[in-house]
Amino acid sequence: MKSSDKPAPKEKSLPSLTPSEITRYSRHILLREVGVIGQKKLKAASVLVIGAGGLGSPLALYLAAAGVGKIGLVDFDLVEASNLQRQILHGTKDIDRPKVASARDRLLDLNPDIEVVTHNVKLSSQNAAKIFKKYDIVADGTDNFPTRYLINDVCVLEKKTNVYASIFQFEGQVTIFGAPDGPCYRCLYPAPPPPGLIPSCGEGGVMGVLPGVIGSLQALEVIKLIVGGGSPLIGRLLLFDALRVSFNELTVEKDPNCPICGQSPTIDAPIDYEEFCGLGPKNEDPAEPISAGELKDRIDKGDKLQVIDIREPHERVLCPFPGAKVVPFGQLARRMDEFSPNEDLIFICKIGQRSLHAIRALKRAGYPGRMLNLTDGLVAWAELDGGPAAIY
């Protein structure tokens, strides 16, 4: 911008750029739509990235590269080897380090001129508002329904715009919630799916490049909100299907009856999200457990029992369970006549979570026989001597 140009009203409060920053960001500054003003807005901006994993990796990397002045990172996990297939913030040397520490090092290596604040905590109804208040924009790249509803509600209550993305296997969703006059997450999804219907990435797998595509779109929307201009994804849900390589854009309207952003809101403070998502202690219907050791003893003794493997075919190839009857989760209720109620059914999956939901689903469907859940699933079984050699 030339000095003869009339300064924009906000420019006075914007920070100046150093000569090295002008060099670093020259490809942005050359764009009419960004320019010096846009770059100064980026320098003045603060963004809270929730989740330093699959989505948070490209998101935080691009925000840091773009010169967003302050980036907050929320995560409480440690880096694991199985993260590195997609979480490009972290390297092999970072295994077992806190994700936020590893991420901070990587971001400051990329751009030492920015500030990176780490929040090595699990986001909760107690701490979320206090953290969100310190940032202009929130970017939700977390991995579970309770946290997503928590982020939505606190963003609406604190009037923070939430750049939202989520992924599942080969599919991604991106949109902006909580913008002034725009819809919120609850307007689109008033309640979460029942536990067990949609497996987590850990159980269901995810194409490593997918969070790269979706997290990059999320970064793009954050940067557009800061710089201004363009058409942000407010009121529009972008779907991406990596297998078909198709993008689909759907309209999302604000719901006047929304319990938090509607005309007569009933939620004025964060709630208990575990309970809301059917995960709280009240909702727990404990299934009878069986340890891997006990199961092995019973099989070795020739006890009368039937092992039911509810995993997907590709999982069974990775770690088969010989002798088990295979019934995919979705077919359980319909095929319960195939089980004999006078022998014990042992339900197995990878980590013992889906099998728990399988037992609950069959109980609801009225199955009368005894059902036991293999605690910690095939992971525990693999640790026994004589069990399968490898777990996936």
Binding site: L55, T142, S166, R244, E253, E312
Partner: protein
């Protein structure tokens, strides 16, 4: 001519892995009952005990949410695309 129904990954376990189905019906309700007849396992995930669409699933006719049209009575025309969009939460771990 039939209506094209797009099935998201999360629900493909109930449609033998198929991502697209050609179905018939003059309304969304008729279309989904054709779906439930061909793939009975999917029905409990789309409808609750009262027959209402579950609140974590959105149904779009072209780009419009049926919540903002006539709900399950929204009419569909041959050649149109109907998309099921369940909420998904992955991204961090």
């Amino acid at each position: 001519m039939s209506v094209n129904l797009l099935i998201p990954t999360a629900l493909r376990g109930f449609t033998n892995g198929q991502s697209q189905l050609e179905l018939t019906g003059a309304t969304v309700k008729e279309l989904l009952s054709d779906l439930a007849q061909k793939h009975p396992d999917i029905a409990p995930h789309l409808f609750d005990e009262t027959g209402a669409v579950r609140s974590f699933v959105n149904i779009f006719v072209e780009s419009k949410n049926i919540k903002n049209l006539n709900g399950l009575d929204t009419s569909v025309n041959p050649g149109q695309t109907v998309t099921l969009v369940p909420s998904i939460a992955g991204g961090r771990s």
